[in-house]
């Protein structure tokens, strides 16, 4: 029985449809989901999410969030999520640069802000790594 994958962000439903397997980046490392997985709820971290369908691999970069595996349904709650083809390398680089510059003045920032900026950095780096590896 095929798996059904659903990826939603606060802005939109990014992915929805049947798939063969999916690899999810969690706080405890990457996990691969095949049909018949035990019901699982896990915390996600910034990284790449690989969807395999009919032998083809599609890569999405996701931010922090949660994933729920319930029977043959995989639901991913991510903030944000972006498909590989849609990554704008230049925009990501500037975002990364901005976040890193802001982080230099660490003492002046609130802890929550630092956390947010570091999350931006991690997400940006993940996007760049995935994008550049593809060549």
């Amino acid at each position: 029985m095929a798996l059904t994958l659903e990826i939603v962000t606060p802005e939109a439903r990014v992915y929805s449809g049947p798939i063969d397997t999916v690899v999810i980046p969690t706080v405890m490392g990457e996990i691969g989901i095949l049909p018949g997985h035990i019901p699982l709820i896990t915390q996600m971290t910034e990284g790449e999410l690989r969807v395999t369908k009919d032998g083809k691999v599609q890569i999405l970069v996701v931010g922090t969030g949660f994933a729920q595996i319930d029977g043959d349904k995989v639901s991913v709650l991510a903030e944000p999520a972006i498909a590989l083809e849609k990554i704008d390398e230049h925009a990501v680089e500037t975002a990364l640069q901005r976040a890193q510059d802001a982080l230099k003045a660490k003492d002046a920032l609130e802890p929550a802000e630092i956390e947010r900026l570091e999350s931006v950095v991690r997400f940006s780096v993940a996007q760049l790594t995935v994008k550049r590896r593809g060549r």
């Binding site: 939603v8 969690t26 915390q43 319930d70």
Partner: protein
């Protein structure tokens, strides 16, 4: 009867007003579209969040997280979300009615200038107000949420309740008060968000599967609850924005229609006055030519 010149002047001024309200209606309409989309787009997200909470519910107990602990309520914390600008019909006034009914001791927080002004005017215990731009970026709303949640954790307030206009559709915005914290009765609360999030399929509620949690149920809960509270309140702000622009568009449309009607009436009156003057003149000429003949 007013002179023709006076009427002409009035017609002109009413036409000017109509022009302005028409422009404001168009602006509100385009903003409304965006705000409504933003408010509706996050619905699948809220549904999924609710589903995960449902799965977590059997694994929770009150002691696990400060958000779940029930306290005796001494001071309520009310976050009032309003628009920054007026001219949007009874939208804000309806919210103020709800606030006016709160008689128990409460501390107030405000997002939106109109609400701040109201709380100051009625001499309520206003602790802080937060400016949020029209397109309501999450980063700005987060500041407000973090502050209120901090006050809650420090025990300054014992509840967090949100007063905001719930967006139903373009014509209907319902002023409501919704308790956010504490999440004391998790099951009841989950049912309420399921209703709120819309149709979560029946079988999904019933399937009480035993889930495995990674890294652990506590850790997921600790991450999920603050995350949920942020999302929930942010959703209220988005809903407020959608309501605001809808209400303004409707109010401006009414104003425009009224102006059009008024112009019609005034034009009729003007034509009558003009015709009367002409008739008068002809009569005078005729009378003078008769008398001289």
């Amino acid at each position: 009867m007013a002179s023709t010149r006076d009427i002409r002047r009035r017609i002109k001024s009413v036409k000017n007003t109509r022009q302005i309200t028409k422009a404001m209606e168009l602006v509100a309409a385009s903003k409304m579209k965006k705000a409504q989309q933003a408010a509706l787009a996050s619905r699948p997200y809220a549904q999924l969040l609710a589903k995960i909470l449902v799965a977590l519910a059997p694994n929770t107990s009150e002691q696990l997280h400060p958000f779940l602990v029930r306290r005796t309520v001494k001071t309520r914390g009310i976050l009032l979300i309003t628009s920054d600008k007026g001219l949007c019909g009874p939208l804000n006034a309806n919210l103020f009615k709800i606030v006016a009914e709160i008689k128990t001791p409460a501390k107030f927080y405000s997002v939106g200038r109109k609400g701040t002004q109201f709380l100051a005017r009625t001499k309520r215990d206003l602790i802080a107000d937060f400016p949020v731009q029209d397109r309501a970026p999450f980063s700005e709303v987060k500041v407000a949420i973090d502050f209120v949640v901090k006050q809650y954790l420090e025990g300054v307030i014992d509840t967090i309740e949100i007063v905001y206009p719930r967006f139903k559709n373009t014509l209907v915005q319902e002023p409501v008060i919704r308790p956010v914290l504490p999440l004391d009765n998790l099951r009841q609360f989950i049912e309420s968000i399921q209703r709120h999030a819309g149709a979560v399929a029946e079988e999904e509620i019933n399937s009480q599967r035993l889930f495995h949690f990674e890294p652990s149920a506590e850790s997921v809960l600790n991450a999920l609850l603050p995350f949920y509270v942020h999302r929930e309140i942010y959703q209220f702000v988005l809903s407020t924005r959608a309501s605001e622009h809808s209400a303004r568009m409707v109010a401006m449309k009414t104003a425009k229609d009224n102006a059009t009607k008024l112009v019609g009436e005034l034009t009729l009156e003007y034509n009558k006055a003009r015709q009367a003057a002409i008739t008068q003149e002809i009569l005078e000429i005729a009378a003078s030519s008769f008398s001289s003949a």
